[in-house]
């Protein structure tokens, strides 16, 4: 997260940079979000070194050991696998899918919005109509429909979620570029003989970064939620590989035996999604000039 923030900040003059950072830090929930994401990221990224057990190690003797037992901080599941270790490894999958899907929405949304607005004409009309049409499908239906016919993996999940959620970015980019198109520095780049793709990437991209950054953060949150829905319903990441969503697949029966099993993965999803949402909110307040004036 902090990398993205620094990148964003570095293209602004120093005074504005300090202002954005200060306004962001004033947003307490956003700061809490950054801290939580950092913790979740450390837990997930460092799972191979930090996890107390092998996440797939089956210990029938320790089935349904409750949380806070010796050696099992969060207990063990129906096969005696360590819940904490599984949560950490699941976090690798769930967070990666979220971030990778967000990157896909960025690339697709930016390409469609930018080239449509920049090139104009019938290409623009066609691309924007495609955006409208895609917005008509409830994304959960579309995702499940596609997921049922594709072998699920980290990559395919991220691609599918990304390909069903790029529309908002495309619209933001489109609107921004229409506003930028008549700016003098774009005309200057055109006169200098720069090709369209270069103008889009070098001149337009940096100037549309603020609202895209906000949308991307919220998209990450949404992608993590969608992954959990699909995996919960059994069409996403397949066991024994753990994801936060598929750890809840048996939640209904877990509740009758050991309710904690169904609580922790849900908490992890909620914390991750809420953190990204809070960060997005904080970024919006910090970057939006209208809020700035208020």
């Amino acid at each position: 997260m902090s990398d993205i923030l620094l990148e964003e900040v570095s293209i602004r003059p120093p005074s504005a940079r300090r202002g954005v950072l200060r306004r962001f830090l004033r947003h307490r929930l956003a700061v809490l979000g950054v801290v939580l994401i950092a913790l979740l990221g450390i837990g997930a990224g460092g799972a191979p070194w930090l996890a107390p057990h092998d996440p797939d190690e089956i210990a029938i003797a320790e089935r349904y050991v409750p949380p806070l037992s010796a050696d099992r901080l969060l207990g063990a599941d129906d096969l005696g696998r360590d819940v904490l270790s599984r949560l950490m490894y699941a976090g690798r999958i769930s967070l990666s899918v979220g971030i990778a899907a967000m990157l896909v929405t960025l690339v697709v949304g930016f390409a469609i919005g930018a080239f449509g607005a920049y090139l104009g004409g019938w290409i623009d009309v066609a691309l924007m109509r495609l955006t409208d049409v895609m917005l008509c499908f409830p994304s959960v239906f579309l995702l499940l429909f596609v997921a049922a016919f594709v072998t699920p993996s980290l990559g395919s999940m991220a691609l599918m979620i990304g390909l069903t959620c790029w529309m908002e970015i495309a619209r933001i980019v489109h609107a921004q570029i229409l506003a930028l198109k008549s700016a003098d520095f774009i005309a200057a780049a055109e006169l200098a003989g720069a090709p369209a793709w270069r103008i889009v990437v070098r001149q337009i991209l940096p100037n549309t970064l603020a609202p895209i950054l906000v949308a991307a953060t919220l998209n990450t949150a949404n992608a993590i939620l969608l992954e959990s829905y699909i995996s919960f319903l059994g069409y996403g990441i397949q066991p024994p590989q753990a994801s936060w969503g598929n750890m809840l697949t048996n939640a209904q029966s877990d509740f009758q035996v050991d309710a904690w099993l169904a609580v922790f993965p849900g908490l992890a999803i909620t914390l991750a999604v809420a953190s990204f949402n809070f960060i997005g909110d904080g970024l919006r307040d910090a970057l939006d000039p209208r809020v700035r004036d208020a």
Binding site: C136, F145, A148, S228, Y229, G266
Partner: protein, 318 residues
């Protein structure tokens, strides 16, 4: 007004055309095509598949297939389920009332609670009430619906035993009270996410309106705070709020799918998930189309209502 309506309806028809093209493309891009389910079955020979292909017209050029399929969609011939062979139209239609019951009641609840809390947060801006509402709304948006539903079942059905764990009514029917008890938990779960959006949206709309001159005028005329807020404030906020109702439809339809699955609510969402397990293509396609249709028609309806209540639109488009 009439011209505006004609334009909007024309746009919606174009959208539906696009939706049908993408839906059809998805069906044919899926690995193995619509008959993939049969290729997995060892008792079905290659000749059988050829014969079925011919029967379903799948050996014809793609554009011919599309026209036939789209024509069937419009005239109500939605094909037959792969399992049991019943017409898809009646399978889907009989599920619609249950879904409408769930979606309608959740939307109504979300609207009342969301708008009220949004107004309260705007009026008490930057107080503890405002912050608490904003934080609660954000958490509600972040909660996985299915997990929230499962927790609800655990607490209110399994532990306390106050409410049924799922279904639309007790076996063998049951009275109105029985149906209401069954509705309560799924309705609350589905409404939860929607409330958050309504609350945030109402708050920002009201914040803008509260600073307007006509609000001061209304107060200066000596109107009571309720008349000022509801009669003048909320009246002006209606336009963005009706638009939100339209925009929220994909979330509502998608949320209904997840909620129905968790609560075994016999609506379209549960039908979709069951059909997915059996790869029942015609049923899946039909529900995908109905879902998109609901979204397109809902947005059209929202725009028409906005045009009716916002005098500015009549002026610019007549």
């Amino acid at each position: 007004m009439a011209r505006y309506l004609r334009n909007r309806i024309g746009q919606s028809l174009l959208l539906l055309l696009g939706v049908s093209v993408i839906g059809f493309a998805l069906m044919h891009l899926a690995p193995g095509g619509p008959l993939a389910v049969y290729t997995l079955n060892p008792t079905v020979t290659a000749q059988d598949i050829e014969r079925v292909k011919h029967q379903f017209g799948l050996d014809q050029p793609v554009y011919v297939q599309y026209v036939k399929w789209a024509f069937g969609l419009v005239t109500g011939h939605w094909g037959y389920s792969f399992f049991g062979g019943r017409p898809v139209g009646s399978i889907v239609l009989e599920r619609i009332p249950a879904t409408l019951e769930l979606m309608g009641s959740s939307l109504a609840l979300a609207l009342i609670v969301g708008v009220a809390s949004g107004i309260l947060a705007a009026v008490r801006r930057n107080t503890i009430i405002d912050y608490a509402t904003a934080t609660a709304a954000m958490l509600a948006l972040s909660l996985p619906t299915f997990w929230f539903g499962l927790l609800g079942i655990y607490v209110f059905a399994q532990t306390l035993g106050w409410l049924p764990a799922g279904g639309i009514a007790s076996t063998g029917g049951g009275g109105l009270l029985d149906r209401l008890l069954h509705l309560l938990l799924p309705m609350l779960v589905l409404a939860f996410v929607l409330v958050a959006q309504w609350s945030r949206y109402t708050r920002s709309a009201m914040l803008e309106i509260l600073t307007q001159d006509y609000m001061r005028t209304a107060r200066a005329k000596g109107l009571g705070p309720a008349r000022v807020l509801l009669g003048h404030g909320l009246r002006a906020a209606l336009v963005p709020l009706v638009t939100l109702a339209g925009l929220q439809l994909p979330l509502l339809v998608g949320g209904a799918l997840v909620t129905e699955t968790v609560f075994s609510w016999p609506g379209m969402g549960l039908l979709f998930v069951n059909a997915l397990g059996m790869r029942d293509y015609p049923v899946l396609m039909a529900i995908l189309m109905v879902g998109a249709l609901v979204v397109v028609l809902g947005n059209l309806l929202a725009d028409i209502i906005v045009a009716l209540i916002d005098p500015r639109i009549k002026l610019t488009h007549v």
